[in-house]
């Protein structure tokens, strides 16, 4: 049996640059920037005082049955908005013959945020002799904590909300491989369809870590940019003066479908998923393998899966976080895989504009790849001013570039060394 082909028929996103695909894309082509002072909580004394926040988003503006999701957490609300857009674009919302047992969900969604003020007040109020008095803590916790706020922190709850929204009954997964999660979700979702376990998969990711302990965690790791005097230029992937990533939030959702099923119902095919690769650095939890061997393995596996060579790749959407290490290692890995072609293939990071959406990053970036194919234009790496001798690829600096784009590779590398690559191709016979 020949493998079933997997195509993208719908896309949606809610992110710091826009609350839908088209406004986000316009913003990227205009080199806009979504980074500003953190307003979700008082971060004024933190080492990093800024982030890429979703602003002015209201669930009810995007989701018709918003009352179904009253308990949904912030990232889940983003996911619902993005999914409703994607579902509508795919045309499945009006497809009467849809078999809901053949529709699955595979997300790379993060955990929901803590019920912060109650959580910390419990710690403070139950602190006794250098530790938490758990008896007192429990007594107070039952007064203050809410079952829904707690349940919605479980990372499978976004899957649950999407299943409820679209009445889905097929296979359902959530992965949380840190910054690689939604790329991995898309790759594995495609495999579900290829093998025939589902005909339609709702995939992508959602995350918000812009909360007091999320930023604390990354600040303690010294992973975030601390360019507090200039937030909008802080995310500068591949630039010599980069000093860390900019934490963002949002959700991006794609509808994947079996090619034949999509064709049969007359769906508009946006692109085809042709390759997926996954690997582990197996190096250290704190650092990437400096040689980029794991990242290279991921790219090579995806190329082999797609039966393509490096000459076929017209554009690489980089992980490109703006940390010293990632950008250097990623550059090295691209060179190892692409050889001579590395100098010629455009590589850009939209994180320079939208920030790092963590679990939602890869799906957001894959959407930009689809649009790059549609419009034959490559989104830029903005804030690029100072070349780094260790980062010497063509990063499409500071302005979008018209180019022939048929095949794109999108990379995501997670903290801890989980690497994932997805390759898409223009729609066609």
């Amino acid at each position: 049996m020949s493998k079933r082909r997997v195509v993208i028929t719908g896309m949606g996103t809610v992110n710091p640059l826009g609350h839908d695909v088209e406004s986000t894309w316009r913003a990227m082509l205009a080199c806009a920037n979504g980074v500003s002072k953190t307003e979700l909580f008082d971060a004024s004394t933190y080492p990093t005082t800024f982030s890429a926040q979703v602003k002015g988003y209201r669930l009810a503006d995007h989701v018709p049955q918003a009352d179904l999701h009253q308990t949904a957490g912030r990232h889940c609300q983003f996911a619902l908005g993005a999914a409703v857009q994607a579902w509508a674009q795919s045309g499945l919302d009006s497809f009467v013959n849809l078999d809901h047992t053949r529709v699955g969900v595979y997300l790379g969604s993060g955990e929901g945020s803590l019920d912060f003020s109650n959580f910390v007040s419990l710690l403070v109020d139950a602190w006794k002799d250098g530790k938490v008095d758990t008896r007192r803590w429990a007594e107070l916790a039952f007064q203050r904590m809410n079952v829904h706020r707690e349940l919605e922190q479980e990372s499978n709850m976004v899957v649950a909300h999407l299943a409820a929204q679209f009445k889905i009954r097929g296979p359902a997964f959530n992965v949380l491989t840190a910054c690689a999660a939604s790329t991995q979700a898309i790759g594995e979702a495609a495999l579900q369809i290829r093998r025939g376990d589902a005909d339609v998969m709702i995939t992508g990711g959602a995350h918000s870590m812009i909360h007091p302990f999320g930023v604390t965690g990354f600040n303690r790791l010294t992973a975030l940019s601390q360019r507090n005097d200039s937030p909008e230029t802080a995310s500068r992937p591949f630039d010599l003066t980069r000093d860390g990533f900019v934490l963002g939030e949002g959700a991006s959702i794609l509808i994947l479908e079996d090619y034949d099923t999509a064709q049969a119902r007359g769906a508009k095919i946006l692109a085809e998923i042709v390759g997926y690769g996954s690997s582990a650095d197996a190096f250290r939890i704190t650092d990437q393998d400096p040689e980029g061997d794991g990242a290279a393995t991921s790219m090579r596996s995806a190329l082999a899966d797609a039966k393509l060579t490096v000459d076929d790749i017209d554009y690489i959407s980089a992980h490109g976080t703006g940390t010293k290490q990632n950008d250097q290692v990623e550059t090295r890995a691209v060179k190892a895989v692409f050889g001579q072609r590395a100098a010629k293939v455009p590589v850009s990071s939209v994180k320079s504009m939208v920030g790092h959406l963590i679990a939602a990053a890869g799906a957001t970036e894959l959407i930009t790849c689809v649009l790059a194919i549609r419009d034959q234009v490559i989104p830029p790496t903005t804030n690029y001013a100072h070349p780094d001798a260790d980062c010497d690829l063509d990063y499409v600096p500071n302005k979008p570039r018209e180019a022939k784009v048929r095949v794109c590779m999108s990379n995501s590398f997670g903290f801890g060394g989980q690497n994932n690559t997805v390759i898409i191709r223009e729609a066609g016979e």
Partner: protein, 438 residues
């Protein structure tokens, strides 16, 4: 090209009743319970004061000497996974960088995958509290004081202790598993989803072998609180912990939290045969499903388990009549037990009530992301020994629960065992094991 066959060649279990496959099987057959009054923290302020703890457990003895320092940055969930992986590789007779740094690995690192299901890991309250309480003004937490200095009282690697993907990451680093690596976080369904997905990697030929399953350790104040708020814990048996968790039994009254996990080695059957490995069973079917009612916590669904079972049987090319035993999730939460029984019956019809069934939750407590891998390991052992283990605390069936459980081990001719599980939130998974005859 035909798909490769998937052999289960190694079992790594870390449970409150036993560590390691042989000890685990012995404990299951003896019908031991791991439940007792919680000793890990003072739970006297909770309505439920019991749980199934891993006593005197540390991952230190399951990692190479050179990696011992890293145990300090492992949440307990990670320690469980690390220990289970070590036990699984050794049980399979596979040499890795982790089992012997100086010997060549049995499987080339890039052909070795890792898929470890995980849950929501809560930060240690004492660790965080020690830092948080340095940023208090007038008796209340002061975010400005936290940002300007309080946070510096946390170890720089604090975040990495609690990321769910660190279960898989530590395992890949210790054992040099450089192939595909994933972390499925789908509640109690995580373990079986991970095994099903890793089985696909082997079937397609992406890997020669993979370590897969899940681990979780929710027995801490936050984890306990969350389950208590959900109304899932047994509060009526604090004085008789061993008898508290009673899956499908007429006196079932809620679950208890256990700590643990199960990781199994899935291996290309040809490779396993060629090296003369013990093959506990073959993994021949996998299916997942969900129930759109899962967001409603009052609905107590089995996450569409009936569809997952059907999908798994279809994947294996089997009919309900081919099934010879059921390995049930069995949380002992009354409405969940009833929903699960109904799911098995809907999927299998008469076969659901004719086949012997078992659940391990009475022995281990609810293991959450650790449940599926541990249950599947129990099923693999059942297949290997041709014995259906007893269900601890089952004596007579609850209303609406008609699965054929028993309090004693039963010898049976076992050819296919279906293993099922489901998550709060509405996702489910099932795997089908087949007896391997060389």
């Amino acid at each position: 090209m035909a798909e490769r066959r998937v052999a289960i060649t190694g079992l790594g279990v870390v449970t409150p009743v036993a560590l390691g496959a042989d000890e685990f099987w012995k404990a299951l057959i003896e019908g031991r319970s791991g439940a007792r009054t919680i000793g890990l923290f003072d739970a006297s302020g909770f309505p439920c004061t019991i749980g199934a703890e891993l006593a005197d457990f540390s991952a230190r003895t399951y990692v190479p000497k050179s990696y011992r320092k890293a145990v300090k940055v492992m949440a307990r969930d990670i320690e469980v996974a690390v220990a289970a992986a070590d036990l699984a590789f050794r049980n399979a007779g596979l040499t890795t960088r982790g089992t012997d740094e100086n010997a060549p690995p049995t499987v080339e690192p890039k052909r070795l995958g890792c898929n470890v299901g995980a849950g929501l890991i809560c930060t240690d309250l004492d660790e965080l509290g020690a830092a948080v309480t340095t940023a208090v003004t007038d008796g209340a937490f002061d975010l400005k004081a936290w940002g300007s200095g309080g946070m510096n009282n946390l170890t720089p690697l604090w975040l990495l202790k609690y990321l769910p993907n660190m279960l898989a990451c530590h395992v890949t680093i210790i054992h040099a598993a450089e192939g595909p690596s994933n972390t499925i976080t789908c509640g109690d369904a995580s373990g079986l989803l991970s095994i099903g997905e890793a089985g696909r990697w082997v079937q397609r030929g992406d890997v020669t072998a993979a370590v897969a399953g899940g681990a979780e350790a929710k027995l801490n104040p936050m984890g306990h609180l969350r389950q208590q708020l959900l109304g899932r814990l047994c509060t009526a048996a604090n004085d008789s912990p061993a008898a508290a968790c009673r899956p499908f039994d007429t006196q079932h009254a809620g679950t208890i939290i256990g700590e643990g996990g199960g990781l199994v080695i899935l291996e290309d059957l040809e490779h396993a045969r060629n090296r003369g490995a013990t093959i506990y069973a073959e993994l021949v079917g996998f299916g997942g499903a969900c129930d759109p009612r899962g967001i409603d916590i009052a609905s107590r669904t089995a996450g569409g388990l009936e569809l997952a079972i059907r999908n798994a049987l279809g994947d294996a090319g089997l009919q309900p009549a081919d099934v010879s035993a059921l390995a049930a999730h069995g949380t002992a939460v009354p409405a969940e037990d009833a929903a699960e029984s109904a799911a098995w019956t809907t999927a299998l019809g008469d076969a659901a009530v004719q086949c012997p069934a078992f659940s391990i939750t009475g022995a281990t407590g609810s293991l959450f992301a650790g449940a599926g891998g541990t249950l599947l390991a129990a099923a693999a052992l059942a297949m290997h020994h041709q014995i259906v283990p007893p269900t601890v605390n089952f004596s007579s069936p609850a209303d609406g629960c008609n699965l054929r459980l028993a309090s004693q081990p039963r010898q049976a001719e076992l050819t296919h065992i279906v293993v099922g599980g489901f998550a709060i939130g509405g996702q489910s998974a099932a795997c089908v094991l087949r007896r391997y005859v060389s």
